[in-house]
Each structure stands twice: as structure tokens, then as C-alpha cells.
């Protein structure tokens, strides 16, 4: 009898039942964590732009406030129930959020005519529409009148935008002239040199034009800023806002699902294609999206060919000796070096070393202001290329090593050279494996922040690294990046609470972009796999 139970126990352990359970549980835990991550980000990010109902809280003491309930909890000291309300009107209250203790609340209601204004500055206004001033004194206004006035103001703003564009073009010309002058001076031309005189004349010309345009702008601005809308907060205090500072105005308590969906779509559009506002906590992420994608792209241009060629050399050409083994160990370890170390290297080598040397060579007249000797998208991409290249090398080597010897011999025995064998048979067969490595490299590069912070990422880049100005791609420019954006708005902004939704939205977007780029690469890999390995299993 004892024998059988021992046998059974022995069988249990021998057949590896516990290991199956342990590995199953480990897998489940990993999946659960991944799912949790996605769910947390989604739950916090997806609903940010959905217009929430406005509630007026009548308080036992002090004026009433209006806002959106963010969360409910208990006071850690008294244990009383309390709610956190986003009250906005930062210019009135100083704070966007306020905790209200449940016993202090006398009554709540959700008035249909509650209005939310999104402003260019100072965040939102929560209140009620009172008056409209179109330059001839304030008078009571209806919602429809307000909407019409808003549309007019936006149309009348267009000349201002034109002037602004002209001003920035003039600024660019001015900078060019300044650099030309600096160059001439560097080459020893004196003030009476005809070229210098001509440039000075041009400078004066631009300056005059500039002054003219500024005056025009001011005239337009003064005129248009005279048109204002007067709102009253829940306590009756007045808030005056120039119409052109209003980005959106709506009455959330009156909006049905279609209107809310339209609003949501508009916000998403702004998110993808708009410029950031209010030190990045509002507005769009367009520059950061462009920066991230472009950085990954440039990184790939360097790291993919370099990694594949190195991998091919190590596996196919290098004679197996202690040197090659050493190189291989070094490459494998390189993949594990902390990314900030790469950042420091990139700063020292690319930015100060290469960039500084190029400055000495090509732009000595601009020194000490660096042109290439400062962080930029090229240096950041090169740094990341260095960081990801080991992954590509290892993947290439493994993929080539996994090809059966017979295929290689078959090609060589037909009179193919080594290069022909490589390009016609081996690389196509290795391509799915190489792509896998490349996908890993890309995903890593897209999410990496630390090395970028010291090689070219900025909080707010004045211009995109890709635009309509010759030569269209400006590799020396600083750029914005979603990963850094998250860090910046989440932990560096003055108004962390107000920035929280944006943190989740940006995170969601970063995850989506990484996913999208990986999905594209995975699709490519599967196509290759179908093409080159059908029926080999």
C-alpha cells in the first residue's frame, strides 16, 4: 500500500506536473501584468476628452462652486466622505482642483446652461454666459449670439495669423543676414567693405519692415482683443475673456452622445495634429509624435544596415578565433549597458566630439554659439542606433547560424560565390530572424528616454526637424519626444494635477505608436517567413 502511494508521488514529480503548473502560473502572471498596464493606461487615457457633466455644489459656507467630480475618498484625519472636484477658473481660485467635504455640501444640481470655455491660457472657465462686448460696451447675450460672435472673431483673426507668418519669415531672413555678417567679420572684412555695407543696408531694411508689421499686428490685436465674453462663476464672480482666446465653448450638460462624440473627435484631432499649449499640459502632441517617429526612423537607417553587415561579417567571414569570440562577447554585453551610459557617450562623442569638430570646420564664424556641437535629432538617433545595434547583430548572427549547412553547400556546389550565396539564399532565409531582432531594437529605441535627454530632446522645440524650408530635413535641430513629454508634463510641470490626464493620454499614444511600428515590422516579417520557409517544419 505504502509502495503505491510512493509510486504515485514519484510519478507526480517525475512527470513534471509541478513544473507545468509553475510555468503556467508564471505565464499567467506576466500576461496579467501586461494586461493590467494596458488597462490602467486605457482607463485613464481614453476618457480624458469625453465631456463630463458639470455639477454645481452649494456649500454651507462660502460661495458655490461648479465643476466635474474627479474622485471620491475619505478624509484621512476625520474619516468624512469627500469629493475632489475640478473647478477650473485658475485665474480666480488659483487652483484647478478642490476637495469638498460631504458635510459641507448643502445641495448639488446640474444646470443645463452650464458653460465650459477652453482658453488659450489659464485653463478652462466653468460658469454661465452673461454678457458679450463687441467693442461697444457689454450687453446681455444668448448662446447663439455668443457662438456667432466667436465665429466672427475667428475669421477676423486670419489677417493676424498672416502677419504673424510674415514676421517669422522676416525673423528667418534677419538671422541669415546676421550669420552672413558674422562670416564676413570672421574672414576679416571691415565695416567699410562693400559686402558688409550691403548687408547692413539689408538689415536696416528688414528691421523697418519688421517694425511696420509689428505695428500692424498690434493694431489688429488691440481691435480684436476688445471683443470679450463675460462669464459668471457659480458664486457670481465675473470672468472676462477675449473672444480670440476662446478655443472651444460648449454646454456639456446639454450635449447628447452625438455632440459629445463630435467633441471627442475634435479633441483627438487636436491631439494628433495640434501644437502643445500651456507648457505642454494642453493642446496637441504633433511635434512630439513627429519627433519620435522621425528619431526611430533615422535610428533604423543607421542601426539596421550596420547591424546586419556586422552580423554577416562575424558569422560568415571572420575566422573563428579568440578575437572574434572577444568581439562577440563584447557585442552581447553591449546590449546590457545602461542606456544613460550611451547617452553620456553620445554627448561626449557625437555632440561635443563630432559636432564640435564639424563646427570648427564649417561654421567657425558662429562660435562660441554651436551649430552642430549641441544636441540634435541626428546625434540622438545615432546614440540610439549604437544602443540598438547589438540586438540586430545578435539576431543576424543567430538567424544565419540557424540555416542548415546543406543549403549553403548546395549553393556553393553549384558554383556560386560566397557573396552570391549570401545575397541570394542566406539573407532571404535569415530575414525573418533579422526582422525579429530589428523589431525588438525599434521598440526599445522608441521607448528610450534617458539617453535622449542629454543628446537633443527638449521640452518645447521651436521648429520641427521636418518642414517645408530648404533642406526640409533639419538633422541638427532639437526635437520633442513622447517619452520625454511624459516625464516633462508628469513631473516637471508646475500644475501636476492638471497635467495628469495628459500624462496618460501621451502614454497611451506612445504605446500605440510603438505597437503600430512593431505591427508593421511583424507583418513584413510574416510575409518573408511565408515566402522563405514554407513547409520546412
Amino acid at each position: 500500500m505504502k509502495m503505491t502511494s510512493q509510486q504515485r508521488r514519484g510519478g507526480f514529480w517525475r512527470e513534471g506536473e509541478p513544473f507545468v503548473w509553475v510555468s503556467g502560473a508564471a505565464l499567467a502572471a506576466v500576461l496579467l501584468m501586461a494586461a493590467l498596464l494596458v488597462i490602467v493606461v486605457m482607463a485613464n487615457g481614453v476618457a480624458v476628452f469625453w465631456p463630463a457633466r458639470q455639477t454645481v455644489f452649494e456649500l454651507r459656507q462660502g460661495p458655490a462652486v461648479m465643476g466635474v467630480v474627479q474622485q471620491e475618498s475619505r478624509d484621512p484625519k476625520t474619516g468624512a466622505r469627500r469629493v475632489q472636484v475640478k473647478i477650473a477658473n485658475r485665474d480666480l481660485y488659483g487652483l484647478d482642483f478642490r476637495w469638498l467635504d460631504a458635510p459641507d455640501i448643502r445641495a448639488t444640481r446640474q444646470p443645463a446652461d452650464a458653460v465650459v470655455l477652453e482658453r488659450r491660457e489659464y485653463g478652462n472657465v466653468h460658469g454661465f454666459l452673461r454678457t458679450l462686448d463687441l467693442g461697444a460696451g457689454a450687453r446681455p447675450a444668448t448662446w447663439a449670439e455668443f457662438q456667432a460672435a466667436l465665429r466672427r472673431a475667428r475669421l477676423d483673426r486670419q489677417p493676424m495669423d498672416r502677419v504673424q507668418r510674415d514676421l517669422s519669415t522676416l525673423g528667418g531672413q534677419m538671422e541669415k543676414v546676421r550669420l552672413s555678417l558674422a562670416k564676413l567679420r570672421y574672414h576679416g572684412r571691415r565695416d567699410d567693405d562693400p559686402a558688409v555695407v550691403a548687408l547692413h543696408a539689408r538689415q536696416a531694411e528688414i528691421k523697418a519692415e519688421f517694425a511696420l508689421q509689428v505695428a500692424a499686428f498690434d493694431r489688429l490685436a488691440i481691435e480684436i482683443r476688445r471683443r470679450t465674453v463675460g462669464m459668471a462663476d457659480a458664486g457670481g464672480r465675473e470672468i472676462i475673456t477675449p473672444l480670440i482666446d476662446v478655443i472651444r465653448a460648449n454646454q456639456p450638460n446639454r450635449m447628447g452622445v452625438p455632440a459629445k462624440t463630435w467633441f471627442y473627435a475634435g479633441k483627438l484631432w487636436e491631439l494628433f495634429f495640434g501644437e502643445p499649449r500651456e507648457s505642454n499640459t494642453e493642446g496637441g502632441l504633433f511635434p512630439a509624435i513627429v519627433g519620435t517617429v522621425m528619431m526611430v526612423f533615422i535610428m533604423s537607417i543607421f542601426s539596421f544596415p550596420l547591424g546586419v553587415v556586422t552580423g554577416v561579417y562575424l558569422r560568415e567571414y571572420a575566422r573563428d578565433g579568440w578575437l572574434v569570440r572577444l568581439v562577440r562577447i563584447a557585442v552581447n554585453n553591449l546590449a546590457g549597458v545602461p542606456s544613460i551610459v550611451y547617452g553620456i557617450f553620445g554627448l561626449g562623442f557625437f555632440v561635443y566630439g563630432v559636432g564640435g569638430a564639424l563646427d570648427q570646420l564649417f561654421f567657425p564664424e558662429r562660435l562660441p554659439t554651436p551649430t552642430l556641437g549641441t544636441g540634435g535629432i541626428l546625434w540622438a538617433s545615432l546614440t540610439l542606433a549604437l544602443l540598438t545595434v547589438p540586438v540586430v547583430i545578435v539576431a543576424t548572427e543567430e538567424a544565419l547560424g540557424a540555416i542548415p549547412k546543406g543549403v549553403r553547400d548546395g549553393s556553393l556546389a553549384l558554383g556560386a560565390t560566397k557573396l552570391q550565396t549570401l545575397t541570394r539564399v542566406l539573407l532571404p532565409m535569415a530575414s525573418p530572424g533579422i526582422m525579429t531582432g530589428f523589431i525588438l531594437a525599434m521598440a526599445r529605441a522608441a521607448g528610450e528616454v534617458a539617453p535622449l535627454m542629454i543628446t537633443g530632446v527638449v521640452k518645447l522645440a521651436p521648429a520641427l526637424p521636418l518642414d517645408g524650408q530648404y533642406p526640409f530635413i533639419h538633422l541638427e535641430r532639437k526635437f520633442m519626444h513622447l517619452g520625454f513629454h511624459i516625464y516633462d508634463i508628469g513631473f516637471q510641470s508646475p500644475n501636476v494635477e492638471a497635467a495628469k490626464p495628459m500624462v496618460f493620454v501621451t502614454t497611451l499614444l506612445l504605446v500605440l505608436i510603438v505597437l503600430l511600428m512593431s505591427a508593421a515590422a511583424i507583418h513584413l516579417r510574416n510575409t518573408m517567413k511565408r515566402r522563405y520557409t514554407l513547409g520546412s517544419f
Binding site: G410, S411, A413, A416, R424
Partner: protein, 260 residues
């Protein structure tokens, strides 16, 4: 070095004279002297590890790919010295085709597999390639089975079909000599029979050297048989003679299955 058990071939295509091969310090072939007759099938037999594959790979210099291999002695193809370091190996391998034990089609279409040798030699005219494909596949007895799926992946063929595709691929470049290293060892009896028939037919156009462990097969397809033992050529002569009246005791023992 005359030997009663080793016959001399008049006007051989491939002539080996005292061919020795070292894998690093270990000597795998101890001085082989034999001639391979033109447009005949020569079988190499012998126990595992005796050096059959090694000898075969000497002929198209595939041993070059292995680190530390050293070849001494003479080996010539139509009076050209194969072991000459200045010889164009690429050209040599175009003249000497090889079929491996394990079929090794490329992960490309049937068509591209067959024309691979031509393409790398720089042939790209559609008509030439089309003609070569039909001729080689027909020559390998595969045309009727694959003519409707020329542009599908070769990896979808059966094992026997793949091996015949490899033969078609080898003969597409019109080599003079065809080396076959146990071409049927991974195949079922029917596929084996087809390839044996094929070998007998190919003999009209090519000189064939085939390594086999199957005595019946050697008897059926070959005109001459060489018996190798531990890196030495023990006996070499017309197949009928070797199988009916072997000179050496070792050969007789091996053929009758008493050892090996």
C-alpha cells in the same frame, strides 16, 4: 604503385594519384590512386567513416570550406590539376555538379531552384532559362509532376521530388561530372527506384560518381565500384567483377555483409 586489385582506366575523366587528405593532424585519405571512366557510373562503397564523402568532396574542392584541411597528391579533371591553388574553383564547381544526401532545395520556387546555377553564371534570358527548366526537370523525371507548379515554393514538394529537383538543379548547368553522396538514403523504395532509373539514363551524358551504402544499388546502377576501407582504396574494378569475384578478402566480407 601497381596493385592487383585496382584496375587502371584508360583516358579517365578524373585521375587521382596518391591523393592524401588531412583533417588537421588526422589523415583521412592515405594515398588514393584511381581513374574515373568517362560516361560511366562509378560507385564508392565502404564502411561508415572510411572516407567516401571526403574523397567525393575532394573532386569539387568542397573540402576547402572546412578549416584545417590539407590535400597532398595529384587530382586532375581532363588533365587540369584540381588541387592547383590558382584554379578557379567557381568554374570547377560549374563543371562538377553535386547532389547531397539530404535534399537541400532553396526556399524559392521550383523554377528558380532549377535556374539558380544559370542565374549566378549570369544567364538571364527568359527563353534560355525556360528551356533549361523543362529540359532539366524532364531529365530528372520530374517535369510531369511539377510542370503546373513551377512557380510554387520548392519546399512544398515531397522528399523524393525534392531530391530529384536537386538533381535537376545540378544538371541544369550541364556539368561534365555529377557527384552523388548517398542520394537515396533518405527516400522510400519507390523514390529510390525512380532515382536509380534516372542515374542509368543520366549516364549517357554525364560521368557519375555515387556513394552508397546499399550493395544492391551499387550492383544495379554502377559500371565500376571502388571499395574504400579506413582511408585506403582496397579494391577497384568493374562492378560485376567485384560483386562476383572480389580479389580481396575484406571486400568480400563487406559485400556479403560479414562486417562494416
Amino acid at each position: 604503385m601497381e596493385h592487383p586489385a585496382i584496375c587502371t582506366i584508360a583516358e579517365p575523366v578524373i585521375a587521382m594519384s596518391n591523393l592524401r587528405l588531412f583533417y588537421g593532424p588526422a589523415e583521412a585519405l592515405h594515398g588514393i590512386t584511381m581513374g574515373v571512366p568517362r560516361q560511366r557510373v562509378t560507385a564508392l562503397i565502404g564502411p561508415s567513416g572510411c572516407g567516401k564523402s571526403t574523397l567525393l568532396r575532394c573532386v569539387n574542392r568542397m573540402n576547402d570550406l572546412i578549416d584545417g584541411v590539407r590535400v597532398v597528391g595529384s587530382l586532375s579533371l581532363d588533365q587540369t590539376e584540381i588541387n592547383d591553388p590558382a584554379l578557379d574553383v567557381i568554374e570547377l564547381r560549374r563543371r562538377i555538379g553535386m547532389v547531397f544526401q539530404k535534399s537541400n532545395p532553396f526556399p524559392k520556387s521550383v523554377y528558380e531552384n532549377v535556374v539558380y546555377g544559370l542565374r549566378i553564371a549570369g544567364v538571364n534570358q527568359r527563353e534560355v532559362l525556360d528551356e533549361a527548366v523543362e529540359k532539366s526537370l524532364a531529365g530528372a523525371g520530374l517535369w510531369n509532376e511539377v510542370k503546373d507548379r513551377l512557380h510554387e515554393s520548392a519546399l512544398g514538394l515531397s522528399g523524393g521530388q525534392m531530391q530529384r529537383l536537386c538533381i535537376a538543379r545540378a544538371i541544369a548547368v550541364q556539368p561534365e561530372v555529377l557527384l552523388m553522396d548517398e542520394p537515396c538514403s533518405a527516400l522510400d523504395p519507390r523514390s529510390t527506384a525512380r532515382i536509380e532509373e534516372l542515374i542509368v539514363e543520366l549516364r549517357r551524358d554525364f560521368t557519375i560518381i555515387i556513394v552508397t551504402h546499399n550493395m544492391q544499388q551499387a550492383g544495379r546502377v554502377s559500371d565500376f565500384t571502388a571499395f574504400l576501407y579506413e582511408g585506403n582504396l582496397v579494391e577497384y574494378g568493374p562492378t560485376r567483377g567485384i560483386f562476383t569475384k572480389p580479389v580481396c578478402k575484406q571486400t568480400e566480407d563487406y559485400i556479403t555483409g560479414r562486417f562494416g
